[in-house]
């Protein structure tokens, strides 16, 4: 019991923002905050059904649970740190329990969503500077606002002709052929198989309490749609940003779907530099049927191998 308490405190410590670096919160306050969090975790621990016996997974799940239940500020969770810890753990593990991994990732997604909702609310608040300077001429700004180095870009502000212009290309379309239909069928069949696979996966392992939440969106829908967007981008590595269509929620959707697709073996995901580098995704096998079949076979095997958890 003591040991698990220790583990838990450590994990929370890792997951929490490094508050002392970010704001002026004194070290003591921070410790007492974490202490109280640990206590809450201990309380919750008794009443909650947590599938994993692994202290790490258990602690992460509990901490996330607290956020999801709105007893933590979502921004107190450092998801980057979480991904690092979790990836490190998964790399070391001989076998990954997909049930628990899925649950944890799903919870991380919820937190990310809560964070982005807050960020969105914050960003949507009109900046005070906007009100102050509304209708003012830009020339007079540098009196009030710290100007940034304009460099030669200043020329752009006054230029009549922009160095960039839309290129005119041919817009031609052609009748569809039988080969197109077959290609489409091939893709459609694979995609719907993935959906079926996913539906089964989600059905089997969904957390009962998620149903009560506002997340009625179907994760399968999201994953399928993100997979399609990826296909449309063609061959090779694609910055994840290119998969976003609109809105902030969409980013969360794309990100989580990418995690699932990666887990299913359909795509690779990597980041240029941690933590703020560009994230890239690449479909492992957009055109190569053999490999895609292998990949889906692998995902099926993984699902089947998952030990049965209540």
């Amino acid at each position: 019991m003591m040991a698990s308490e220790m583990d838990c405190a450590q994990v929370i410590n890792h997951l929490m923002f490094q508050k002392s670096l970010i704001d002026d919160e004194p070290q003591d306050d921070r410790e007492s905050r974490i202490g109280s969090y640990v206590k809450t975790v201990e309380e919750i621990q008794r009443g909650t059904l947590m599938p994993s016996e692994d202290p790490f997974e258990r602690s992460v799940a509990l901490v996330f649970e607290l956020v999801v239940q709105q007893r933590f500020d979502p921004w107190d969770i450092n998801l980057i740190e979480f991904s690092k810890l979790y990836l490190a753990k998964i790399r070391k593990a001989d076998e990954v329990n997909l049930v628990i991994a899925g649950k944890i990732v799903y919870m991380a997604w919820e937190i990310l969503k809560l964070q982005s909702e807050q960020a969105l609310r914050r960003a949507e608040k009109p900046e005070t500077v906007e009100v102050m300077f509304d209708g003012w001429e830009p020339e007079s700004f540098d009196l009030f606002v710290d100007p940034f180095e304009l460099g030669s870009g200043e020329a752009l502000l006054y230029a009549e002709e922009m160095p960039i212009d839309e290129k005119v290309r041919r817009k031609s379309d052609r009748p569809v052929t039988l080969i197109d239909l077959l290609d489409a069928f091939d893709e459609a069949k694979k995609e719907s198989d993935i959906r079926k696979e996913l539906a089964k996966f989600m059905q089997k392992y969904k957390r009962p309490d998620f149903d009560d939440k506002a997340h009625k969106e179907s994760l399968e829908d999201d994953i399928a749609s993100v997979w399609e967007r990826l296909q449309r981008c063609g061959n090779g590595p694609i910055p994840i940003g290119d998969l976003y269509t609109s809105g902030k929620e969409d980013r969360v959707t794309v990100f989580v779907a990418a995690l699932f697709l990666a887990k299913m073996g359909k795509i690779s995901v990597w980041q240029e530099e941690v933590p703020f580098g560009m994230i890239f995704v690449e479909a492992k096998v957009p055109w190569d049927i053999v490999q895609l079949e292998d990949a889906s076979a692998l995902a099926t095997v993984q699902v089947q191998n998952v030990p049965v958890v209540k």
Binding site: R170, S172, P175, V176, K189, S192, R195, K196, A199, S225
Partner: protein, 172 residues
Amino acid sequence: MKSERIIEAELFSAAKPVTVTELSQISGLDARTVRSALDKLAEEYNGSDRAIEVSKMGPRYAMQVKKDYKDYAWRLSEMEIPKDVLKTASLIAYYQPVLQSKLFDLIGNKVYEHVKSLEDLGLVRTKPRKNSYELTTTKKFIETFGIDARSRTEVKAWLEGELTKKSSPKKS
């Protein structure tokens, strides 16, 4: 700026065959100049070994890929029916007669929009059934894709055949 170059830009960017009047309206060149520019271009393109030609179809002109190069050209151009709509069409053909609600499970809520546009194109027929719609392919579907089948059962069988043909060498 040479008039034939202006007409060249217009022909290139036009997605469909255009008339001299249209070319003249956009370029601001008179019809006679447009015609002589078209002649020059046709000579320049069609006489050379280029893969592109300027061709005349009745009163309309178009820039297009020469016949010999057609095989290389079509794959990269955009399809008349968007790919994802085509995917839905193929699933309907494969599972037909299939309930729209069943298809929803396979492809999600874009099914409504796709079925609508396939119905508009005359490729798919809908019939109310069990609080949903039963979807089948039409004769036009068979004609559009030149499938060797005379009924929807045959379309289905044909697709099934194609599927096994594709997957069999890879399995095991």
